[in-house]
């Protein structure tokens, strides 16, 4: 109890915030030099890029679930929208555009002759963020009058709707164009060409790594700034007691929609990045389990806890891309026979991990002080406890 009191006292612009800033600079710098110790196309950098993209997603979702307390089970929708932004504006998908000449803005000479839309990756990122912010508002509106589990159901449905549109998009025609390429996928898509880093290739992974690290830095910055702001306080207020928040002058609709949109924008940016990195936009990527995967990162790390979520995202991502397929799967094959594929049980393993977490440490690996107080001191309203468990 006294610990909470002290830490709460240290908040206003004091030690707490400085410590976060110093930690961020140190960690980001260390992360920036890390790839220099590995070969330019090593498996480690590949896994690290994926992990950092998940950090961006998880920190985006953290704004919605952790800060504002709105359980979102359809976050994959923003991965999809972000990815399709690359598919539409960074590939030859619209091949008849401009009489087959294509439209090119700020791209390298290699892509400048290809048909279709080809925008510079930075523009694509901005578009992805904008589309997803709008999409976030769209998913937000029907949930405004709902609470707790009902929000979860509506967001889940939204994620599925987007997935089904993606899967069946080859049947949806706009003029002579299909909306998506369905399960075939839009491939190839443009690789970024950025100032300083030049043209990205699949042989040198470092530029990808640094790019996604910059995205991580941005989303970290936004998370920290928003947490200690007028909007951040309003989110906590709404999370704890909507009625009291509204009565104190917090506009509920606006406050919630801003949470959805901010979170969605980062999901979109990470989605656009991943699509470009994986060189394909395939409807099969946008499964419901992806939403759960990102949510699990947030919960594992600690709802609302920025460093916790970073840790949760990196941990789960490495378990998924490295530990299970490279370390555990061969051993499981030795034990259970050649036909046994442990990677197919990945989500079972994650589920098991979450159950263990909920029993041993429900507040997450690096808990946020408010959530900690809610869970350990019983301060929470029933609803907040529900959210923390979900």
């Amino acid at each position: 109890m006294s610990a909470i009191r002290q830490r709460a006292g240290g908040l206003p612009g004091g030690l707490g915030r400085h410590r976060d800033a110093v930690a961020a600079v140190v960690l980001l710098t260390a992360a920036a030099v890390l790839p220099l110790f590995y070969s330019s196309a090593s498996g480690f950098i590949d896994d690290a890029i994926t992990a950092l993209a998940f950090v961006v997603m998880a920190l985006g979702l953290n704004v919605v679930v952790g800060f504002a307390g709105l359980l979102d089970l359809g976050y994959v929708a923003f991965y999809a929208i972000g990815a399709y932004t690359v598919g539409w504006f960074g590939s030859s998908f619209f091949n008849a555009l401009n009489g087959g000449q294509g439209v090119h803005i700020g791209v390298a000479s290699g892509t400048a002759n290809l048909p279709g839309f080809h925008l510079n990756f930075l523009l694509v990122l901005v578009l992805a963020a904008a589309f997803c912010a709008a999409g976030g508002a769209v998913i937000g509106i029907p949930t405004l009058r709902l609470r707790g589990d009902y929000i979860a159901i509506v967001t889940l449905a939204f994620g599925e709707i987007i997935r089904l549109i993606a899967v069946n998009g080859d049947e949806i025609k706009i003029g002579s164009y299909m909306l998506t390429q369905g399960r075939q996928g839009i491939t190839p898509v443009d690789k970024p060409n950025l100032p300083l880093l030049g043209q990205f290739t699949s042989l040198d992974l470092r530029p990808w790594y640094w790019t996604v690290l910059v995205l991580v830095a941005i989303v970290l910055f936004v998370n920290f700034r928003l947490r200690d702001s007028r909007l951040g306080r309003a989110w906590i207020a709404v999370r704890e007691d909507e009625v009291a928040a509204a009565s104190m002058g917090v506009p509920l609709v606006r406050t919630k929609l801003l949470a959805y949109s901010t979170g969605a924008a980062f999901g979109g940016m990470a989605g656009a990045f991943l699509a470009s990195y994986q060189n394909t936009v395939n409807a099969d990527q946008f499964e419901f389990s992806f939403s759960i995967f990102v949510l699990a990162m947030v919960i594992l790390g600690g709802l609302g806890s920025i460093w916790g979520v970073v840790l949760g995202a990196i941990t789960l991502s490495f378990i998924n891309t490295n530990l299970i397929p490279d370390e555990l799967a061969p051993r499981a094959r030795d034990v259970f026979g050649e036909g046994f594929d442990l990677t197919e049980l990945s989500f079972g393993i994650f589920g098991f991990l979450l159950v263990i977490m909920m029993v041993l440490r429900p507040q997450g690996l690096l808990p946020e002080r408010r959530r900690q107080a809610e869970l350990t001191e019983g301060l929470a309203t029933d609803e907040a406890v529900y959210d923390a468990r979900a």
Binding site: R230, G232, A237, V243, M248, E374, L379
Partner: protein
């Protein structure tokens, strides 16, 4: 009677006319007309379930009235959103304290200042000088308001849940004052207080009216508080206004006695 009604209407900061609220088949509040003069302290009393809190919730926008009209400082605020009503100048506290429990006292009051602040999404992220200044001012003002309501410095950064009951009540009033209201609604502010605490809250209400020019509407069960502080008393029973007037005349009113004590043989 009709002349007094006209008088209150003239200088009323808040005016409710023919306000009703029906939940399903249940009439919780029926055709209540009611005015609060500027810089006055007005009390609503009545037995449990008389519709007092429902009436409060309509004034603050938490419930939409089924019929009737509410005007505040000459503007129609019927069925407006609660945050808009707060911004217009009505603030409230709750019967069962509803502080943001994991926030400190100062942070709670800062939420109360939300409507007066300007920082938006991008302002909060980029934090330009004007936003920094606003944050600092709002934080300082929160501390000022807290010491005005009598909270000591050493507990201002304590999370609300760890505050004593009396301090929680104080913080709730401070949070309401933070929006700079011209009308303050207090829902059973002395519930759970001992006589000394009630007495000091009573004198604090007078101070608020005199120093800050506030009008105060309170729901109260403690007759000592009601009789001591309010200039006018309105009595609710079964969703209807059954009496209104000065404390002494209301106390003598046979319908009021009946509502409280039951029909006398």
């Amino acid at each position: 009677m009709s002349t007094t009604d006209a008088e209150t209407a003239a200088a009323a900061v808040l005016e409710a006319s023919g306000v009703s609220k029906v939940f399903g088949g249940l009439v919780a509040v029926e055709e209540v007309s009611f005015g609060i003069p500027e810089r006055s302290i007005v009390a609503i009393i009545g037995p449990n379930g008389a519709g007092k809190t429902t009436f409060f919730n309509m004034l603050t926008g938490l419930y939409k009235p089924s019929s009737g009209q509410i005007t505040f400082q000459g503007k129609d605020i019927t069925a407006r959103r609660p945050d808009r009503i707060t911004k217009a100048g009505i603030a409230r506290t709750f019967q069962n304290i509803r502080l943001f429990k994991t926030m400190t006292a100062v942070e709670n009051v800062m939420v109360g200042e939300h409507a007066r602040m300007k920082a938006g999404l991008f302002g909060s992220i980029l934090r330009p000088p004007r936003v920094r200044r606003e944050e600092r001012e709002v934080r300082e003002r929160a501390r000022e308001i807290l010491s005005y309501v009598g909270l000591t410095d050493d507990v201002m950064d304590t999370v609300a849940a760890n505050l004593s009951y009396g301090d929680q009540r104080r913080v709730e009033i401070a949070r309401a004052l933070a929006s700079e209201p011209s009308l303050l609604l207090l829902d059973e502010p002395t519930a759970g207080m001992n006589p000394q605490e009630s007495a000091s809250l009573t004198s604090f209400m007078r101070r608020l009216r005199d120093e800050r020019g506030l009008a105060i509407l309170l729901i109260e069960h403690d007759m000592k508080v009601v009789m001591g502080v309010s200039e006018r008393v309105t009595v609710f029973d079964h969703g209807q206004k059954i009496a209104e007037g000065e404390p002494t005349e209301v106390r003598e009113n046979p319908r009021v006695i009946e509502a409280y004590l039951g029909k006398q043989g």
